[in-house]
């Protein structure tokens, strides 16, 4: 059944044209295509090498897009072994059939997924944790944690040691977070349920500080249109402005509980500057912090320093805009903020 299509609103198109300039057409084109099927090997349970081997034995074609991060994998399809030899459609020389698409939901139904050997996650969504660089024995806070994609990624990077607090305010989302942490065998995590701003205030009052914080903020989700086209229907400029205020409160609260020299990653899955650069600019102008340069394994755009009538601090340019058309991912925004002593 073909996916339902949604018409982008004129203001959304106008804003994206303003942001993208000559890349606008390429952006609109890639929105028509679903993102690649990516997943992350759960190194708490299996090595990337072993996982790749056993998935290939099932007939899946696996690609590792970044040599530096072998846990990040893409499944490009599977060899349809139902096609009999000599019937055409087979690569007889290599005794392989044609590559076909995985069935809908097949990636999530495999034994390897059920046993927690991998986590289905879009590549752009893996980037904030690569920038956070959590280490074993650190104290880390994932302030808006559900469904747990990044929490499980952080725990794997910490090798299940240290302390990771995964907070989620919505009761309904706690269950899925807990289920994902369990499936991945995460042992170093405490799940809390509280409004992020109120939780940070309690931490601050008790001087309970963190080496690293991930603030993957609630956002308008413009970057997820490829996988969730309905985002276009829900898009609303007033929501963006409301979210911008919430994000400023969240980042203010989070900076207060960072240890001196600690790192905060601010990320969203939207392109709206009011939710991205404006928040980083707000942090720079109100706290003793700096924005650090980021190295990512794929092509990105720098943060913008001007939007409508607003001029942002020059260093906001060190933030990264991940546009879908640049590296065939979904859209994201990432900034690395360091608290100065």
């Amino acid at each position: 059944m073909p996916k339902k299509t949604y018409e982008p609103k004129p203001l959304f198109l106008e804003r994206m044209k303003e942001l993208l300039g000559k890349d606008f057409d390429a952006y609109m084109e890639i929105l028509k295509h679903e993102p690649v099927r990516s997943f992350r090997c759960n190194t708490l349970k299996i090595s990337p090498e072993n996982l790749k081997k056993r998935l290939e034995e099932k007939g899946w074609k696996i690609k590792i897009p970044f040599e530096k991060y072998p846990e990040i994998m893409i499944v490009e399809g599977k060899y349809d072994n139902k096609i009999p030899s000599g019937a055409g459609g087979r690569d007889e020389k290599n005794n392989k059939s044609k590559l076909i698409d995985l069935e809908p939901g097949e990636l999530g139904r495999s034994i390897e997924h059920l046993l927690g050997y991998y986590y289905i996650q879009e590549i752009a969504s893996m980037l904030p944790v690569l920038v956070l660089e959590p280490k074993p024995e650190e104290r880390v806070l994932d302030l808006c944690a559900s469904p747990g994609s990044k929490t499980t990624q952080i725990a794997a990077r910490m090798q299940n040691s240290g302390l990771l607090i995964a907070n989620e305010v919505k009761f309904g989302r706690i269950k899925i977070l807990a289920a994902n942490l369990e499936r991945c065998g995460v042992m170093n995590t405490i799940i809390t349920r509280k409004d992020g701003i109120a939780l940070c205030k309690r931490f601050k009052d008790e001087n309970f500080l963190f080496d690293k914080i991930l603030l993957d903020a609630p956002c308008s989700g413009e970057g997820t249109i490829r996988s969730t086209p309905r985002t276009l229907e829900m898009w609303n400029i007033n929501t963006i402005k409301q979210l911008s205020n919430l994000q400023k409160s969240l980042i203010s609260s989070a900076i207060e509980i960072l240890k001196p020299n600690g790192t905060l990653i601010y990320s969203t899955c939207t392109h709206a500057p009011e939710e991205d650069e404006e928040i980083v600019d707000f942090a720079l102008k109100n706290f003793n912090v700096e924005v650090e340069k980021i190295e990512l394994p794929l092509k990105t755009s720098p943060g913008i320093v001007r939007w409508e009538e607003k001029e942002y601090a020059e260093d906001v340019k060190y933030s990264c805009r991940v546009y879908p058309q640049l590296a065939d991912t979904e859209g994201f925004f990432i900034a690395k903020i360091r608290k100065l002593k």
Partner: protein, 161 residues
């Protein structure tokens, strides 16, 4: 207040003794706690009981570490979860029941295995290199405890190793 009781040194030693008797497990480096009446959780040594209680005052604690085992109400025996068997797989030497490919498929679909094994009690279920939780073996069957969310929802060839 979160219903968690972290095992002290003596309680942990007693618990490991039972793990040893049932499955040959001799050492658990991480912390062990009882969560509610039956559930046993395993959590990183980097988390202290004080931190858990402090956090519970800050914001409601909904979970700590990983569900690792359950105490059987009737027999007081331990039943390891899928993660329990996976996390301690290198130490499990006793009461292991190896499945063949067809049985592994049925097992992962959540079905009891109607077979006579001549064994009795809780056994770690294994297929090739994969640890698949624990089953309760009785006279003519192995009872399945794979939770619904972790079951295969369709028949497929189980290439587990």
């Amino acid at each position: 207040m979160i219903p968690i009781k972290v095992l002290n040194k003596n309680e942990k030693e007693k618990f490991i003794k039972q793990l040893n008797e049932q499955f040959g497990i001799k050492e658990v480096k991480d912390n062990i706690a009882k969560f509610g009446k039956e559930r046993i959780i395993l959590f990183s040594a980097g988390i202290s009981e004080k931190e858990i209680q402090t956090l519970d005052r800050f914001g409601r604690v909904e979970g700590v570490g990983v569900y690792f085992a359950k105490i059987d109400e009737k027999t007081n025996d331990l039943r390891l979860s899928i993660e329990g068997t996976q996390l301690l797989k290198n130490q499990i030497t006793k009461n292991i029941f190896e499945l063949d490919e067809k049985q592994a498929e049925q097992w992962m679909m959540g079905q009891d295995l109607n077979i006579t094994t001549g064994k009795k009690g809780f056994f770690v279920i294994k297929f090739k290199g994969d640890f698949l939780g624990t089953g309760k073996i009785s006279e003519n069957k192995i009872s399945n405890f794979i939770p619904k969310s972790r079951r295969l929802r369709y028949k497929e060839s189980v290439k587990l190793s």
